[in-house]
């Protein structure tokens, strides 16, 4: 016997609601095998061939090439023989639940009529029932335990209500072989736990459990708590990373910047008028550093375990402190800028840092860091390298001090320059030369120095 079966558009992916048939691979009249591709599908997510769910002859195409239909729509009709039709329409498998038994029962037709379960035989024997008189409502006409119970109830011989019937049966079975259960059967009847109804709901799809942020505990009398801001957290992790990964070494040199002080004092008012910004010492110092890096490019490098990466671009990171954080915006291609240009960049970045208007690009690409610690009066500091750079340099306060020049004592404007270095990359000799070059550059500023 032939049966016509629909093949429906399956849900190919989780969120898919529709698909387009791009091309039929089979035409009406073709014979198709189960799992054989019958058409090509186009969806938002994938393009796929649709395998047939049955074997048989393609009778009719319901959805033509290029048409888009929702999931679940029948797209073609396939004529199958009876056996395959039954498997096709059979209920979807429910896990591993007794498939064998069910299938057996189904296939057996009425053959289960004479198969009596232990419970049925037991009840029949107990009540003296001829099972041939009992109607079977189970699979394959099988007489179920309930059928027997119903028969007993209906026969009137023992016309007791169902509940009592059940109880009697329980009691009698308790006297049976498993005597150990007698007590417990009674006990359970007594301790009927009330069925709790819990307010369950299915509406919300369970998510991967999220981690809640913990509430703060109560501070003690002598302390109070400050929230760790995201920027503080970043600073903390970067500092820790730098200190724990980079073997820091530290060195310091002293420079005589008397001439620089004179130079700046001469130029600053006019510069202010002309450019609208302050001419800071930092601009001169940065220029001195950049020029020294050009002579010692290894200062501008990164440790990469099996190699050292020397950066061609000199992008100076500049530490800018705010009330509650420190940021290091970057002056790109600092070697391409003159002193005035550096002064403008410094002013711009410092102002935008304090206003909180830095872009991500302002923060990226630094290759060497300069920190003007002198701005808050320090005369000596031991900076932490701005990871993953190779070194960081600080300018301390310019202070007038008596110094010996040509065996005479003079009052000069002196500055300390401190350097923390990655000792994996840099050693004392190279850093000594580098600092010496910075010092030379600073000391060589004079009234002829050009800002532009």
């Amino acid at each position: 016997m032939k049966t016509v079966t629909e093949i429906i558009l399956p849900q190919l992916a989780e969120s898919l609601v529709e698909a387009t048939i791009s091309q039929w691979l089979k035409q009406p009249g073709d014979h198709i095998e189960k799992y054989e591709p019958i058409c090509d599908l186009i969806t938002d997510k994938v393009n796929a061939e649709l395998p047939s769910t049955v074997s048989g002859k393609l009778v009719k195409i319901l959805v033509g090439n290029g048409e888009t239909v929702p999931v679940g729509t029948a797209i073609c009709l396939v004529e199958t023989d009876e056996v395959s039709a039954e498997t096709a329409t059979g209920a979807p498998g429910g896990g591993q639940a007794g498939d064998g038994a069910a299938a057996q029962a189904k296939a057996a037709g009425e053959s289960m009529r004479g198969r009596y379960s232990p419970a049925v035989q037991y009840l029949a024997a107990e009540h003296g029932i001829d099972l041939r008189q009992v109607t079977g409502t189970g699979m394959g006409g099988r007489i179920t335990r309930k059928d027997v119970l119903a028969y007993i109830a209906a026969s009137g011989a023992e016309s007791k209500p169902d509940g009592q019937e059940g109880k009697e049966r329980q009691a009698s079975s308790g006297q049976d072989a498993n005597r150990t259960n007698t007590g417990s059967v009674v006990a359970i009847d007594e301790v009927k736990v009330p069925v709790r109804s819990s307010g369950l709901h299915l509406s919300e799809t369970p998510k991967i459990p999220t981690v809640e942020v913990q509430g703060q505990s109560v501070p003690g009398p002598g302390e109070y708590f400050i929230d760790v801001t995201p920027v503080r957290n970043t600073i903390a992790s970067r500092m820790r990373q730098s200190v724990s990964e980079i073997p820091h070494a530290w060195t310091m040199i002293e420079a005589d910047v008397t001439n620089l002080v004179i130079l700046r004092n001469k130029l600053k008012d006019e510069f202010r008028k002309r450019e609208g910004i302050n001419l800071t010492y930092l601009a001169f110092m940065m220029k001195a550093v950049v020029n020294a890096i050009k002579d010692y490019p290894i200062m501008n490098s990164v440790w990469a375990v099996n190699k050292i990466i020397v950066k061609r671009e000199i992008n100076l990171s500049m530490s800018v402190g705010t009330e509650d954080s420190v940021l290091t915006p970057v002056i790109k291609n600092a070697d391409q800028k003159n002193i005035a240009g550096l002064a403008r960049e410094i002013d711009d970045l410092a102002r935008r840092t304090r206003e909180g208007k830095l872009n991500l690009s302002d923060m990226q690409g630094g290759t060497f860091t300069v920190n003007n610690t002198g701005s808050f009066g320090s005369i000596l500091s031991k900076p932490i390298i701005n990871y993953p750079q190779a070194a960081i340099l600080t300018f301390e306060s310019i202070v007038k001090r008596p110094v010996v020049i040509n065996d005479m004592i003079a009052v000069r404007s002196m500055v300390n320059i401190c350097l923390s270095l990655d000792h994996r990359i840099l050693d004392g000799v190279i850093c000594g030369r580098f600092l010496q070059r910075v010092k030379d550059n600073l000391e060589s500023y004079d009234l002829d120095t050009k800002l532009y």
């Binding site: 209920a91 591993q96 419970a119 309930k146 498993n178 819990s198 369950l200 369970p206 913990q214």
Partner: protein, 327 residues
Amino acid sequence: MPAISYLEALRQAMREEMERDENVFVLGEDVGVKGGVFTATKGLYEQFGELRALDTPLSESAIVGVAIGAAMYGMKPIAEMQYSDFMLPATNQIISEAAKIRYRSNNDWNCPVVIRAPIGGGVFGGLYHSQCPESVFFGTPGLKIVAPYSPYDVKGLLKAAVRDPDPVLFFENKKCYNMISGEVPEGDYTVPIGKANVLREGDDITVIGYSLPLFFAMEAAKELAEEGISAHILDLRTLQPLDREAILEAVRRTGKVLIVHEDNKTGGVGAEVAALIAEELLYELDAPIMRLCGPDVPAMPINPPGEKFFMLNKDKLKEAMRRLALY
């Protein structure tokens, strides 16, 4: 009675036990400052301090080992395995030490440790965050194993587990954490270990299970009731020792039994329940004993269709229950 979540019931039980007895403490990975990855121990660190909400290294063997030692010394540790999948490194401590101490020392020593471990999938956790390892420990005399389904039982059984003088494995279902809520009394009560609970009465089929699949069974039973099929549902609650009497009573009621669990079919708890029924109740059975379990594949797939295939759900339960009813 307020309705609270499965997870909140866990928290309440631990907090109340820690308040009641200063020997009770929790330990595990991130149970302290973070309050547990599922927030099950949230607030304990703040309330009881770091010595009673102990953050440990990532070493389950050490966590359980320390807990066993503390328990033998008179403390009442609650050791958390972050996922039951991670419990296996501690298996030697659990099976060879905790389970055997009383026996080995001829009753001189005991080990009142509780080991909490979240089981189950359906949370897109894949291979290492979805396992149900009940069967690994199930055949080990000396251990008690509980696997509650309702928030009421979570709180009551965890309290009972803490007070139990012997090691108790507490398998909580992570998908139930926020999905299942129910009425839970405020204040102190316990649910006895070793006692099953009838969730629903019926006389066509009997469903026996534990943990999450019971949720699907209850939903399916509700729908099947409209088709005239009435299901009797038994929550084992305790897997070791099994409540024999309750199982036999529930089966005797209908003569048709379906055993469900998410752990895979072969060698699972259901096998033992089925054997028990076959041993005791052959003459009362009206249908072959059926089991609906996770498939015998090595792990929960990470891909959503695979996970869906692996997991039990209401429709699978309904289909199996209907088939058994019609048999």
